[in-house]
Symmetry: C2
Subunit: 389 residues, 2 copies
Amino acid sequence: MKHPYVLTVLALLLSVSAIPAMAQEALTFRQPDRSPVVNADTTITFNLRAPLAEKVALIGIGYEPIAMQKDSAGLWSVTTKLRPDLYTYAFDVDGVRTIDPSNVYTARDIASLSNVAIVPGGNADMYAVQDVPHGTVSKIWYDSPALGAKRRMTIYTPAGYDANPDKRYPVLYLLHGMGGDEEAWNELGRASIILDNLIASGEAEPMIVVMPNGNATQIAAPGQTAEGNYTPDGARSIGSLNAFESSIKDIMAYTDANFRTIPDKKHRAIAGLSMGGGHAWRTSMLYPDDFDYVGLFSAAVRWNGGGVDDSTTGEQERAEKIQRQFAEPPALYWIAIGKDDFLYGINSEYRSFLDSLSIPYEYHESEGGHTWTNWRDYLLLFTPRLFRN
Amino acid sequence: MKHPYVLTVLALLLSVSAIPAMAQEALTFRQPDRSPVVNADTTITFNLRAPLAEKVALIGIGYEPIAMQKDSAGLWSVTTKLRPDLYTYAFDVDGVRTIDPSNVYTARDIASLSNVAIVPGGNADMYAVQDVPHGTVSKIWYDSPALGAKRRMTIYTPAGYDANPDKRYPVLYLLHGMGGDEEAWNELGRASIILDNLIASGEAEPMIVVMPNGNATQIAAPGQTAEGNYTPDGARSIGSLNAFESSIKDIMAYTDANFRTIPDKKHRAIAGLSMGGGHAWRTSMLYPDDFDYVGLFSAAVRWNGGGVDDSTTGEQERAEKIQRQFAEPPALYWIAIGKDDFLYGINSEYRSFLDSLSIPYEYHESEGGHTWTNWRDYLLLFTPRLFRN
């Protein structure tokens, strides 16, 4: 017996996992069932042990719940063929939304938590952590005098940032949608992983990515504020739509002061999804000298409530504002939306408006709707275009 | 109608939340039931809507499941009086472990996810985010030649670190337990929040806290590696117990090269819980010139499997090693354990061993067992003692 103490302590630890009396501690070293399992034929199997349940379904994948079947031991399963992508899912157990207890990998979208599963291949390989140099992801508090608050943001610095202390980098400001927060783009959007992979393959320039919180009434994500036991409430976003433009200058000032940026228009991009697309649209118009690359992903392009493009102003004034932005046109003005997106209509109207003014832009129309599948894909298409001039 | 577009888009967005066809998107802005709710009398109420369930219990709080009662609308509830603390919990719904769908605030402990709830007051106020200056929490990849891998760690830099580019800081190396990883101390241990609060009140010196991954066979936490759909497996820790001592020098080298540390013994501390306590114990013995502060929290002090204190070596050799460490004694050698901890016995034996050699240490004996409640409390007691000499 070579290592008696190892075995003794291990035995002690493992025995503990069987003791229900371990208050507050869940020393579960391995779940009894594996789920999800990607099979050799690239189908994927989801499992949940629920012997007493009457009805269990896989939810969040596909348009309808997918019924699961129970075996004689009470294990509910379903095997399905899915195209390569990153999926979020949960189980519906007799009407109760349940996280897969065998899968600790989860992500939060607004007020609900889901499990994450990757079916490899295609784009999904760009969303998976690969064996490449990784950047750093930091949660940072900065002062926003415009909003009278200390606020939290996520900042990605690329691999090599620390090792090259004399090198300066361009910056992408990447904005979340309604109900999201400073964690959304990195969790559900896989931004740092996508950037790691694109930079490693040479498809994108090394860049800093700044992911602020676009809800002016919220200083930080759930669990990160003094509010304690806090559940997100989309209504919090609503009052804050006007304020992003005033806070972006604070965010840029902090970033330029504390990171090795190249602080000029040529080396700044701004992009966002949905509400954040609206923010990117309005901000780039309000500050035409600041951003040379603009990405509008499923953007709420007519979203407003005062400020640069108050809808109470007339079309002529809006035309003047966008023409001022394009007096020295951005290197890239990129609009992307899915055919089934509920914002498709206002994006079409906006493109007609740009066309009527002979304003140049690029347009990418995808399948699908208002989904993270599309936004991850757009990020994958947009970032290789940045800072190449 | 002042902001017609706001209302239009808002209406569109909110209508979406009612459409089950939003594949992969869970635009739930507000859960129908609030849970948990801290009541005015400081009791706390947990709620779960499960009309079809036969039996629902609150689990993870207290030693036994706490039965919940169903009302006529199918809402299961229980109200309980808990002393101030941070609690992790889940629900058992007819035998299925379920996360509270109304509470997105969760933490992972090894292979299981739990909800987090804070009952305010006492120590719990130090675990809650307060309106004080906040440090930065970064997830960083560093090279470990000793282990032949790029690995991930969490680093906390205190508030003011960026604003004071000429200031250098002491470092606490803070190590997780068996089955944990580089996220454990910051998630369940609330390390950055505790440090923010202690530093803001002047109770602790501003310091950098380095939280590495102590499992030599694991490069990063679940979801952060190329393994994809990965569920933790405590067995992965087992093979890696020997290797921490060889990797700590890589971790220190990276930290000293990339952060403004004061790279000497007087400004370095090492502490850990359980297996990490064993790592702190062995590492501080192996490198007696590196750490002036040592914290052994519920430590696996005789855990070994080769290296500095291989149990196959005799007591005399162990005595020589610890005496070499105490030839120039650390400023603080702090041992803490709960009366009910399953490692209480080997800690008592270890203290007897130290006493037999007249080696000085401080000892803190608490109530309770091998729990995060104790480890957070120990961090709260230990960090104010650091770097005061």
